[in-house]
């Protein structure tokens, strides 16, 4: 009975909460290490294809602007326009792509690239939730800040 009381005293103090959770995470980490090696599945969604010669390197996924590009998605039938964004270049990014070879990241980050395709189109809901998280967290911070400031 004594040990139970001691455990309950430990648990009942919320200062120990973090330690408790961290302990659980350590156990799972050890379990993770013990369960290695884990096989890497080669058939991935949105695989990378690297073409160092392209000016869009490392984000060149082929395809024609305003046309189709082969993108491995989970449910192709749900996003009929998948792959269109990938090959699209705005005038600015087209200019950059024509003139330099090492600005692939900038060009692709500019609207219209594989990451935009994933973030906004096929997995757009992730982005909605994620911006909501930022929104909520920021609302908390600014509410507390302004309450103090008054």
């Amino acid at each position: 009975m004594l040990i139970i009381t001691r455990i309950s005293r430990f648990v009942s103090n919320f200062q120990n909460l973090v330690a408790l959770f961290a302990g659980a995470c350590i156990i799972i980490s050890l379990a993770g290490i013990l369960s290695l090696p884990l096989g890497f599945e080669e058939q991935q969604l949105y695989p990378k294809t690297l073409d160092p010669a392209s000016s869009l390197y490392p984000y060149d996924r082929g395809g024609v602007p305003f046309g189709t590009t082969e993108v491995v998605v989970q449910y192709p039938e749900n996003s009929p326009y998948a792959g269109y964004v990938t090959a699209y270049l705005t005038p600015l990014s087209q200019y950059l792509a024509d003139h330099t070879h090492y600005l692939g990241t900038t060009i692709v980050a500019h609207p219209g690239g594989i990451i935009d395709e994933i973030l906004y189109n096929t997995r757009g809901l992730d982005t909605v939730v994620e911006t909501s998280i930022l929104f909520a967290a920021f609302a908390i911070a600014s509410y507390l800040y302004r309450r103090e400031a008054k």
Binding site: I4, T5, I7, S8, V11, S12
Partner: protein, 281 residues
């Protein structure tokens, strides 16, 4: 439909009355009559009813309706042989309802009852272990599949007794006057029920009756299998009497000790399920 509900509530309240009676007799007191709980429910229905000034009105009323709603749903799920996962989800959500009862009034007693009810959330975890163990055997969680499995292989009570014990403990922690009933401990007056009176209290009685009926009936369905309805009622009463004996002779634990013991039980159950998972093909 409605007659099932009325019957279940009435029978559940009867079982609770039986519970009190058995405890009283074990402790060598005369105890209230068996139908006392039913009378209570009827009495409260005709008493005057209003909402306390400090209460958060919509929540105060809403939780009663939600409570009745979820347990009615639970009853029909059991009767229709749907997924027991839903049943147990409702069982866990009852916690939230208790919490709502306690907090909505603004009364300190109710608040502490609600807080304790939340602390004792660990009591529900054995349920999921139960679910996992059953799933390992049947590969399905629909109640009708489980009864069908038992028709072939015999009752689960014999196949996996530790799982049955876990569920037994879960029911125990939900009954009043038991070792885990920290929510209704006497220093909190009536715990989360303190500030609900009149019709609202009658609603709580209905919830309690339904809850008792559904849990015991689910226990019978999951661990004993398909039996005639009257036989199920008899088995339920037998189980309840055994629970009452436990309640009568054990002291109430302090809140965090209760949580710790429930947690340890969960750990044991996890180990058992891990063992099952290891040995099963």
């Amino acid at each position: 439909m409605i007659e099932y509900l009325v019957f279940a509530a009435a029978f559940g309240l009867l079982l609770l009355g039986l519970h009190r009676k058995v405890i009283a007799r074990v402790q060598m007191r005369p105890g209230p009559p068996v139908w006392q709980e039913i009378l209570h429910a009827l009495k409260f229905s005709f008493k005057s009813t209003w909402i306390p000034k400090t209460a958060s009105a919509a929540l105060y009323v809403g939780v009663v309706l939600v409570g009745i709603g979820i347990w009615s749903a639970a009853l029909f799920i059991v009767l229709a042989g749907e997924s027991i996962l839903i049943l147990f989800a409702i069982y866990m959500l009852h916690k939230v309802v208790e919490h709502g009862f306690g907090l909505s009034s603004g009364s300190p007693y109710g608040k502490f009852g609600g807080v304790r009810s939340v602390i004792s959330a660990a009591s529900e975890i054995p349920l999921f272990v139960t679910i996992a163990a059953i799933y390992l055997f049947t590969g399905s969680l629909l109640l009708r599949d489980i009864t069908a499995y038992q028709a072939v292989h015999g009752p689960f009570l014999l196949i996996a007794p530790p799982v049955a014990i876990a569920m037994y403990l879960v029911i125990l922690s939900k009954l009043p006057y038991g070792p885990f009933s920290i929510v209704e401990s006497k220093e909190l007056v009536s715990g989360y029920k303190t500030e609900h009176f009149g019709v609202w209290r009658a609603g709580i009685s209905v919830i309690d009756g339904l809850k008792t009926f559904v849990l015991l009936y689910a226990f019978v369905a999951i661990f004993v299998g398909a039996v005639p309805f009257w036989a199920a009622l008899v088995i339920m009463a037998v189980i309840l009497v055994s629970l009452s004996f436990v309640c009568a002779i054990t002291p109430m634990l302090s809140p965090f000790d209760s949580v710790t013991i429930q947690g340890l039980i969960t750990g044991l159950m996890l180990a058992y399920v891990g063992y099952l998972w290891w040995v099963m093909p």
